[in-house]
């Protein structure tokens, strides 16, 4: 013990950091900020440390070469002792980090912490969110599998839509004309050198400002921020009702950080590493690429936007969103901090959460994606074939062979790209069915050239049998009138 003390003394005589570290650690913070609501920033920092450690460990084995990356991931998963666990820690750490950064941001927003004098802290925080998402995206690319390959293609397609500069941006992003070795190398450089460097720098500035300006006090309804008086009021508060950060507040940070690390460790153990999925061989086209969890909402937005809106939304949307976040403290730098007096702030958070949650959940099922093998894998449920005529069963065969099942479901089986056909006969008459099949429309291709008249007749005969028990199929009243002038006249008093 005495040895440790004398080594410490020897070091401090030269470094002369002890006093300032002690002062920093013991700086007074408002008593109410020693709260479980104030633990997310430090937790994000601790997860970042975990990412650095596990990232360096992965780099010991990983080969950033398009030809070998996938094999080195397989080696990590299967050959290297506990390589799978380090991969799992890094992958789950990434998801936890994005989640905690987002929660931290919501907390800071709802507590009004972006207001004077912490505007720059918020702005650097927004940059930290962007670089964290940048790490998540580039990390997904380094898991160089089918999803990464086609995900890069999607990125290139989006980037190419920038007016004038588009094609050059694509070449710069890919490092050449196609997704290949140069692409992986530059994403490796981004993920391992450039973005982590920015992350460290931003974290340093962010933390420095938290220390210099003091942690945001617990917002009280009616305690209004005014530039003229805020700093004096804050110092009075910390003097009157403050306690030293260490150990007054830090113990909650420590407990929460340990809890998060344990959660990552447990998730990594139980759920294992993410992928890699199939090898990044573009000639294997039997693939349906999906983005990682935190980009699923974007995948949903891209399929739900009308085509003409897509390019403007892709190019303008992010710029507007980022600008809004960056400029927020300049427009709302003063005033009420408490969420109890800021209903629009609360509603904004609710709206964004519900929207992103809905999109993410939708993207989990991806109803807009055809089920590419439904026609050969999913049979027509037998109740749709019982007591049917030969023609109707022939139509069921056409339904399968012509891949209708890839986009239309029967009994909730099959594609959901188009409407479910269980009750189509209630909605459409025979003529309308024929027209829809032959001419398409309403986001359905026209099948006129690919169906013989006999096939069309059979298919429509089958579709006409698709109505629920207790319903009757739609019928064309005027046709009955035309064919049998008397039959179409309804009995009097009955519409």
């Amino acid at each position: 013990m005495r040895l440790t003390a004398s080594i410490g003394k020897w070091l401090d005589a030269r470094l002369q950091l002890g006093a300032s570290i002690r002062e920093t650690a013991e700086h007074p913070v408002p008593r109410e900020t020693a709260s479980w609501f104030y633990v997310f920033g430090s937790a994000a920092f601790v997860v970042f440390m975990l990412q650095i450690v596990t990232g360096v460990m992965l780099a010991l084995i990983y080969v950033p070469s398009a030809g070998e990356a996938w094999n080195s991931l397989q080696a990590l998963n299967h050959d290297v002792s506990l390589g799978w666990y380090i991969r799992a820690l890094h992958g789950w750490g990434s998801d936890f980090m994005v989640a905690i950064v987002l929660i931290h941001m919501v907390q800071v927003f709802l507590f009004g912490a972006y207001k004077y004098p912490r505007e720059l802290t918020w702005i650097v925080g927004v940059l930290l969110l962007l670089v964290t998402l940048g790490m998540a995206f580039t990390g997904q690319v380094l898991r160089f599998d089918q999803d990464a390959y086609w995900g890069l293609g999607i990125g290139a397609s989006i980037a190419s839509r920038v007016p004038l500069m588009g094609p050059s941006i694509v070449n710069l992003m890919l490092g050449g004309p196609i997704i290949a070795g140069a692409t992986l190398s530059r994403f490796f450089a981004l993920h391992v050198f450039l973005i982590p460097g920015l992350l460290v720098a931003f974290v340093a500035v962010h933390l420095l400002m938290v220390l210099k300006l003091g942690i945001n006090e617990w917002p009280m309804p009616g305690r209004v921020v005014r530039k003229a008086t805020y700093t004096r009021e804050y110092h009075e508060l910390t003097k009157r009702d403050g306690l030293p950060f260490v150990p007054g507040a830090v113990w909650k940070d420590l407990f929460f950080a340990a809890f998060i690390l344990l959660s990552i460790a447990v998730c990594a153990y139980y759920f294992g590493p993410f992928g890699p999925s199939g090898p990044p061989d573009p000639t294997i086209i039997q693939t349906a690429p999906r983005p990682d969890f935190f980009f699923l909402w974007l995948y949903a937005v891209l399929s739900l936007l009308p085509p003409s809106m897509e390019t403007p939304a892709l190019l303008v949307g992010p710029v507007v969103a980022i600008l809004a976040l960056l400029l927020l403290p300049f427009f709302f730098g003063e005033g009420e901090k408490s969420w109890r007096r800021r209903p629009i702030a609360v509603l904004t958070i609710l709206l964004v959460t519900v929207a992103l949650g809905t999109f993410t959940r939708l993207a989990g099922n991806a109803p807009w994606s055809p089920v590419m093998d439904a026609w050969s894998r999913i049979p027509i449920p037998s109740e749709f074939l019982h007591n049917r005529s030969a023609l109707e069963r022939q139509g069921a065969l056409v339904f399968q062979v012509k891949q209708c099942h890839n986009c239309h479901s029967l009994d909730n089986q099959g594609g959901k790209r188009g409407p479910a056909l269980d009750g189509v006969a209630v909605r459409l008459t025979q003529d309308q069915l024929i027209r829809q099949v032959i001419q398409g429309g309403g986001n359905m291709p026209a099948y006129g050239k690919n169906l013989s008249p006999a096939e069309t007749t059979a298919l429509v005969a089958f579709l006409e049998t698709l109505y629920p028990a207790g319903h009757s199929p739609a019928r064309d009243a005027s046709r009955a009138v035309a064919l049998e002038p008397d039959a179409g006249v309804p009995p009097s008093g009955h519409p």
């Binding site: 980037a159 004309p177 291709p445």
Partner: protein, 180 residues
Amino acid sequence: MTLPRGLTRRDLFMKLGIFFNGIVAAILAVPIVRYLLSPVAQERKGGYESWVPLGNLEQFPSGETRLATYRNPIVNRWDGDTADIPCWVRNVDGQTFQVFAINCAHLGCPVRWFQQSGLFLCPCHGGAYYQDGSRASGPPERGLFEYHYRIEGGTLLIRAGEIPTPGHASNIVREIRPCV
């Protein structure tokens, strides 16, 4: 020579030092920027595209659409499988061909050909194209990207070498309008 009032010799040297560093930085910036921009500069210089063979015509029977692959003309040893690029070859009538990029015109996912229904379908967002590559339905704003082709000594060649994207039209024969 007299110095302006308030400017000492040391101030002057410091300013000269900063200026000197600025000059050196500008000189160093030239190779750095050119290095970074090399993927763009190369395209301007030689172009990424050249004629690549897809195989003998017998591989592409008349009236059928078949998957073909080629090795990208610009390739590095460490590119692995990523330089093997697939495309769809449609032999229209024995004489005319259409060669479509594998990438959906929406966001570049690989489209699949369904012979029975005569459609290309995209697994990502459900873009659909007719057998001639024109847009059938879904989010794409245009038809499939189509390569220029020529036939030489019984071999089908296409002009390829760069990933086709909605914003880049250099390797596209023409905009295919949807059937009206």
